[in-house]
Symmetry: C2
Subunit: 342 residues, 2 copies
């Protein structure tokens, strides 16, 4: 079963020592903010263990910041599931909420949302914390990364709503996947988690840009392998395995094998580029402090590739479902709870 | 009358030699794209002479690029006028269109808009040109500057729609004005107009950030002086003179004088900071090529401060109105033509 598929990752990344205490605080917050609305929704959410994902992808965050990052994960993942295959009329509401999420980091932190639902209210609160202490340059980069992700998510929802989810060819799919996976802003948040910033000149360098794209592809493809069963049950055709199987008219196993090879190729290219980082620092004439911050920026990418992988292998998000969640899936519903209304 | 008020600006900036030919091409484009829909709307638009504004603020653009920049001005200025005081129900449509304009630069260039009206269709076309040849870093910065402006514009419209336009104190007003004036992205476009980019490290420096904010304040306050009569006729309380008069309970002339002094103080602080640019370049260890690009970035600011000023003194946009425009103003309507519907 694809959730068990192993990849050979050359990183050994830490896990936050604050996982347990931050998780408890986070779960209370999710309930208090109405991000789950039923007991079944809460149990399902808890089984995903996004707290572990945050503790692995942001291992150096303080206890308080780790809670903030978990809170952010919750609203992003829960929003991701709000599209119901049986309710294409939800497309416009999803776009409206997504656009509210996009503009939040473009307003002074702490501004109340214009479009109100649990997801948008939670994000306004989280952004106030997440932007704390970060430069305008970082906020600009995060806002654009986040906005590109959300607008791509809407395109994916629109395709599904129009019954065209399963129509993309491999090239169009991988281009869209790089945008829907949401890795660029996730890596940006790595800087916030350790209160540092990659020097702007390094961040703008083509090497770093390409490394970020390759990390996004690697994680997106791995996620497609691990989430394949879940997405097949939910009728979600936005998955590399489904695209490969259809385009090549091959067996599922062959499609899984090819997705695995594609993932490995992205990772290998990423590693080749990573080895050129010292050369880039020379070229840019960076001093020791700047080099250290570039190195931490690279670690943020590694934490994401490896942390997300370790989490996905065991997360309940991609496991077989029973009870209310299975019923919702069978009915073509994206989630147990509706989070787009007040 | 405030449109005649003079400021003492220490810049002498050029005007594009392509003004006349680009203007003709631009006016045809505006008509063809439905950005004016009536003869009266067209005559009013032509009287603004935004073509001159573009030729002064982007004097080094090629003839083709100058047309693109004029086209961009047209949709931004025309959108700015789409709020009718008598139709507060337009607030939501304005927000919807604004959010479409915000997400356009976050999608692959050339993507069709999701919310369709003349303004959004025109912007998708213009963005495809405007983003041409520019780095991801520039596109990110432009997208965030543009998004911050548009989301602030919505706040202004919401205040007006709720009858609260005249309730802001001086501090809140000037903070909002810095965001609604739309100068940050206008300066960003200066790089596109000469096909260069300010080095990222310089752009992220606090000195440059502060200079950009002061340029925005200077231009916003000057614009409030020059547009005061127009805004008073239109019942638009989003104007420094109106805020000062109300807050200080002084005469209109005293308010105009104070607005003039505030403008001059911003400009003076800007000039003090501008003189520190060579020192900033030393601190960042920039080479000769990078220094030249910083210098061009500073010129882009000067072109905007001076070019906008010279244009505003004579633009028909701020002049007394007759005919259909006067009728629309008297009826509390923001514009002759409705551009938010298909």
């Amino acid at each position: 079963m694809p959730q068990d598929v192993r990849f050979d990752l050359p990183f050994n990344t830490p896990v936050s020592p604050y996982l347990a205490c931050a998780r408890e605080r986070h779960l209370r917050w999710v309930w208090d903010r109405g991000l789950v609305r039923s007991q079944a929704g809460f149990e399902e959410y808890r089984s995903w263990d996004l707290a572990q994902a945050a503790a692995r992808t942001y291992p150096h965050a303080s206890a308080a910041d780790l809670s903030t990052l978990m809170n952010w994960f919750s609203l992003a993942f829960l929003f991701d599931d709000q599209f119901d295959v049986v309710r294409p009329d939800r497309m416009d509401r999803i776009a409206e909420v997504a656009r509210e999420l996009i503009v939040t980091p473009l307003r002074p932190a702490g501004t109340a949302p214009r479009v109100v639902c649990p997801i948008t209210v939670a994000w306004a609160e989280v952004w106030e914390d997440l932007s704390q202490g970060m430069s305008l340059t970082w906020q600009t980069r995060f806002a654009a990364s986040w906005g590109r992700f959300l607008v791509a998510h809407c395109e994916e929802v629109d395709l599904a709503g129009q019954g065209r989810a399963g129509t993309l060819g491999l090239e169009a799919y991988t281009a869209l996947r790089r945008r829907t996976v949401g890795i660029h802003h996730s890596i940006d948040a790595g800087e916030r988690s350790r209160a540092f910033e990659v020097p702007p000149a390094a961040m703008a360098h083509p090497l770093m840009e390409r490394m970020r794209d390759l990390a996004a592809d690697t994680i997106g493809f791995m996620n497609d392998v691990h989430s394949f069963e879940r997405e097949r049950r939910r009728g979600d055709g936005h998955n590399l395995i489904a695209v490969l199987q259809r385009e090549r008219n091959c067996s599922w196993q062959e499609a899984i094998d090819e997705a695995h090879r594609m993932t490995t190729r992205c990772l290998e290219e990423y590693l080749v580029l990573e080895a050129r980082i010292p050369q880039m620092c020379d070229e840019l004439g960076l001093d020791a402090g700047e080099r250290a911050r570039v190195e931490m920026g690279v670690e943020a990418i590694q934490h994401w590739i490896n942390g997300n992988y370790e989490w996905a292998l065991t997360s309940g998000r991609y496991a077989d479902k029973e009870g209310a969640v299975a019923t919702a899936e069978l009915a073509g519903r994206g989630s147990v709870d509706d989070l787009l209304t007040i």
